[in-house]
C-alpha cells in the first residue's frame, strides 16, 4: 500500500484518476454509461482550459462554448466540406480556436469581473449566430452531418485519455512554471504583478490563447463523439456548465476539475429517474455545493487559508466589493 501511496504521490492525483479511467473498459461498462464517461472526458479538456484561464489567471469566462464550437466546426468543415484527413482537422481546429482566443483575449485584458464575463459571453454568442446563419459553410440550423472520426469506440476513448493525460500534465507543469507564477500573480493583484515586471497584458493574452486551444481540442472530440454538429450544442447553457464544473473542482485544481467534469456530466444522467424534476434537482445540488463549497470543495481548503473566516459583518461585504 505504501508503494501505491508513493506512486500516487509521484504521479499526482490527476494522473491517478486518469489511470483509473484507462482501466475501466477492462471491467466492462455498458455502452450508455461508457458514452457518458466519454462525454465527461471530452469535457475535461474544457475544464482544464478554465483551470488555466480562471483558476490560475483569475479570468472568469462565459464564452468557452464558443471556442469549443470553433474547434468542432473547423474540424467538421475541413473534413466534410474539404475532405481533409481527420488528423489534419485535429491540428487545424485548435489553431483556429487559438486564433479566436486571441480575438477574444485582446479586448479582455482591460476588463474585470462582470465586464469580462459579459464580453466573453458576447463573443461566444456572436460565434454561435455566425455558425447558425451561414448554412452553405456550416449547415446552419440543419447542422453538419456524417463527420468522419479520427477513431471510434475504444481506440477513440484511449486517444482522448492520452490527450487528456498530456493536457493535465502540461497544465500542472504550467502551474509550477514561471508562466504559471506570472498568471497567478495576475490573479492575485494585477497592479502588483505589473510592478514586479509581469507584462500583464501579454500573459493574459497567453492564458486566453492556451485555454482556447484546449477548448478547440475538446471541440474536435465532441465532433468525433457525436458525428453531427448543430449550433444548439454551443449555447450559454454549455458555457455555464463548464464554469460550474471548474468551480466545483476547486478552480485551480486539476484533479478536482477532472473529477467534477466526470461527476457533473454524469449527474443529469444519474438523475434521469426523476423525469421532469431532474433538472431542478440537478441545479439545486449545484447551488448547494456552491454554497458550501468552502467546506465541500477538494482544494478550496487551501484557498480558505488565505481568506480566513471573518465574523459576518460589513467589512466582508466591503471586501467583496473591493475585489472588483
Amino acid at each position: 500500500m505504501s508503494r501505491l501511496n508513493a506512486y500516487l504521490r509521484r504521479i499526482g492525483l490527476a494522473q491517478g484518476i486518469l489511470l483509473v479511467l484507462a482501466l475501466i473498459p477492462l471491467i466492462g461498462v455498458p455502452a450508455y454509461q461508457f458514452y457518458i464517461l466519454e462525454r465527461g472526458l471530452q469535457n475535461v479538456l474544457v475544464v482544464l482550459s478554465l483551470v488555466i484561464l480562471l483558476g490560475y489567471t483569475g479570468q472568469l469566462s462565459l464564452g468557452q462554448a464558443g471556442l469549443v464550437a470553433v474547434g468542432a466546426y473547423t474540424y467538421g468543415i475541413l473534413c466534410v466540406n474539404y475532405g481533409l484527413s481527420p488528423w489534419l482537422g485535429l491540428v487545424a481546429a485548435p489553431l483556429a480556436a487559438g486564433l479566436v482566443g486571441v480575438v477574444v483575449g485582446f479586448p479582455s485584458f482591460k476588463l474585470k469581473g462582470p465586464f469580462l464575463v459579459v464580453n466573453t459571453l458576447a463573443f461566444s454568442e456572436i460565434v454561435r449566430i455566425l455558425i447558425l446563419n451561414n448554412e452553405k459553410v456550416t449547415g446552419g440550423p440543419f447542422g453538419l452531418n456524417r463527420i468522419p472520426a479520427i477513431a471510434t469506440g475504444l481506440p477513440l476513448y484511449y486517444f482522448m485519455l492520452v490527450v487528456a493525460f498530456l493536457a493535465a500534465v502540461a497544465t500542472l507543469r504550467l502551474s509550477r512554471s514561471h508562466i504559471g507564477l506570472a498568471l497567478k500573480a495576475i490573479r492575485e493583484d494585477e497592479v502588483a504583478a505589473e510592478a514586479m515586471g509581469v507584462h500583464v497584458r501579454n500573459y493574459k493574452l497567453l492564458a486566453f490563447v492556451i485555454s482556447a486551444v484546449l477548448a478547440g481540442v475538446s471541440g474536435v472530440f465532441f465532433a468525433n463523439l457525436a458525428g453531427y454538429l448543430n449550433p444548439d450544442s454551443f449555447t450559454i447553457n454549455e458555457s455555464s456548465t463548464y464554469l460550474l464544473m471548474v468551480v466545483l473542482g476547486g478552480m485551480d485544481n486539476v484533479a478536482g476539475g477532472i473529477l467534477s467534469s466526470l461527476t457533473v456530466t454524469s449527474l443529469p444522467e444519474a438523475l434521469r429517474f426523476m423525469a421532469r424534476s431532474r433538472m431542478v434537482v440537478y441545479s439545486l445540488i449545484l447551488l448547494l455545493v456552491l454554497r458550501y463549497s468552502n467546506v465541500l470543495n477538494l482544494a478550496n481548503l487551501k484557498r480558505m487559508m488565505r481568506r480566513r473566516q471573518p465574523t459576518p459583518d460589513a467589512s466582508t461585504v466591503a471586501q467583496n466589493k473591493v475585489n472588483r
Binding site: 501511496n5 500516487l8 492525483l13 450508455y32 462525454r39 440543419f142 447542422g143 448543430n230 461527476t263 444519474a270
Partner: protein, 387 residues
C-alpha cells in the same frame, strides 16, 4: 497521503455509483418494450407533452384489454418508457443511447430533424426500428432501413397550403417570413417551387431568429410591400407573437398561412382570439375532419386530459397501435417488425399509413381554417406512394 487515497476512492466511488445506478435493470418479466424519445425539456417541450400523452393513452387502452396477443398465443403488456431528448441534438444522441440501453423493441421519436440526423446511426447500428416525428426530407434519405417517419416530409406541407391560398383565398401577393431553424427553413425551401406552380412569387421574404421577441422590422417591411397574405413558418412562441404583432401594426386583415406549429393551442393564446381568427394551417389531422374515427379520438383525448392539443403532434397514439398490431402478427422479433414496417399498410385512428421505399408512412395533407372557435377543414390531398 491517506487523504489523497481516501478522496480519490470516495470520489470515484460516487461517480461510478452515479453511473451504474443509471443502468440498473432488474430482471423484468417479458413485455413489449416501447421507448419514446420525447422533448420533455427544452424549446420543443410543448410538443413533447402532447406526443407522450397520446402514446400513453394508447398504451393504457391496449393494456387494459389485457395487452397484445402474440402469434404463439401468449399475451403480453406494453411497457412504455419516456426518455427526455431535451429538444437539441446532443440531447437526442444521449437520449437515444439511453433508449438503446433499455433494450426496446421499437423507439418512438425523436421529435426534431436535428435530433434524428444526429442520432440515426445509433439505432441503425443497434438494429432497432425508430418511428420518428421530424419533417426534414433528408432524414429518410440517409440509407437507414430502420428509420421510419410517422409524418410527411416538409416538401408536402406547403403545396396544399399554397393551393388553398390561391383557390380559396385568391392570394396574389404573398409575403413569406420564416425562422432560421431547420424546420422552418425547410418549409421555405418548399415554398418557392410550390408558388411557382401557381405562377406566384413572394413579394417579400423576411427571416427571424428563434427566440427573437420583436418582429416590427420584418412586419413593417411586409406592410410596406403591400402583400395580401403572410406565409409564416416558425416555432410556437414566434408564430404566436408574429400573428399578434401583425395586427398591432395594422395588418389584422391580412390572412396568415402556416403549418403544424401554428395549430398548437398555445399559439392561439399568444396571438389572441381576434388575431388568430382566420388562421389557415396545413395538418396531417384536422380536428374539423368529419371522419368519425378522428372525432372519437378527439373526444377520448379531451376526456382523459382536458387539454387542448395539437393534432399533428399526437401521431404516436397510432404508433403504439401499429406496434401492437405488428407484434400480434410477427411476435417480438425486431427484424421482422422492421420488415413489416417497410411494407406497412395500416388504417389508424388518425389516418392511413402506407410505407414508401424511404420509410415515410404518411402521405396525405389537409388544410384547415380557424373559424368561430373551431377548426374547419378546407382542402385535402393524398399523395402517391412510391413503394
Amino acid at each position: 497521503m491517506k487523504l489523497y487515497k481516501g478522496l480519490l476512492g470516495l470520489s470515484l466511488g460516487v461517480f461510478f455509483a452515479a453511473l451504474t445506478l443509471v443502468g440498473c435493470q432488474s430482471n423484468q418479466p417479458k413485455s413489449i418494450k416501447i421507448v419514446h424519445l420525447a422533448p420533455l425539456t427544452g424549446s420543443a417541450s410543448s410538443y413533447g407533452s402532447f406526443g407522450v400523452n397520446a402514446a400513453k393513452m394508447a398504451v393504457e387502452e391496449i393494456n387494459s384489454k389485457g395487452g397484445v396477443k402474440l402469434p404463439d398465443g401468449s399475451q403480453l403488456k406494453i411497457e412504455y418508457t419516456e426518455v427526455d431528448e431535451t429538444s437539441n441534438s446532443a440531447g437526442a444522441i444521449e437520449g437515444t443511447k439511453k433508449a438503446i440501453s433499455l433494450d426496446p423493441l421499437v423507439i418512438l421519436g425523436p421529435n426534431r430533424s436535428g435530433g434524428v440526423l444526429a442520432a440515426e446511426k445509433l439505432w441503425k447500428d443497434a438494429k432497432i426500428p425508430a418511428l420518428t416525428d421530424a419533417t426534414n426530407a433528408q432524414t429518410t434519405r440517409l440509407g437507414n432501413p430502420y428509420t421510419f417517419r410517422m409524418q410527411i416530409s416538409s416538401e408536402y406541407w406547403i403545396p396544399l397550403l399554397v393551393k388553398t391560398a390561391v383557390e380559396k383565398y385568391n392570394v396574389k401577393r404573398p409575403a413569406v417570413i420564416y425562422g432560421l431553424n431547420d424546420y422552418s427553413k425547410a418549409n421555405w425551401v418548399a415554398t418557392e417551387p410550390a408558388m411557382a406552380k401557381f405562377n406566384l412569387k413572394p413579394v417579400i421574404v423576411q427571416t427571424f431568429n428563434d427566440n427573437d421577441q420583436d418582429f416590427s422590422a420584418q412586419l413593417l417591411a411586409i406592410k410596406k410591400s403591400g402583400a395580401d397574405s403572410i406565409f409564416l413558418y416558425g416555432y410556437t412562441p414566434e408564430v404566436g407573437k408574429i400573428t399578434r404583432q401583425r395586427s398591432e401594426l395594422g395588418m389584422k386583415n391580412i390572412p396568415v398561412f402556416s403549418e403544424r406549429a401554428a395549430s398548437v393551442p398555445s399559439v392561439f393564446d399568444l396571438a389572441g382570439k381576434e388575431n388568430y381568427e382566420g388562421m389557415v394551417t396545413t395538418t396531417t389531422m384536422s380536428q374539423g375532419d368529419p371522419d368519425p374515427k378522428i372525432q372519437e379520438f378527439i373526444k377520448k383525448y379531451d376526456a382523459k386530459y382536458h387539454q387542448a392539443f395539437s393534432a399533428s403532434h399526437v401521431i404516436h397514439y397510432d404508433s403504439v397501435y401499429i406496434v401492437a398490431d405488428l407484434v400480434s402478427k410477427v411476435g417480438l422479433d425486431r427484424e421482422k417488425i422492421r420488415q413489416e414496417l417497410a411494407k406497412l399498410d395500416y388504417q389508424g385512428a388518425m389516418g392511413h399509413y402506407v410505407a414508401d421505399k424511404e420509410g415515410n408512412l404518411v402521405h396525405h395533407m389537409r388544410t384547415q381554417v380557424w373559424k368561430d372557435n373551431q377548426w374547419v377543414m378546407l382542402m385535402s390531398e393524398n399523395y402517391p406512394v412510391e413503394r
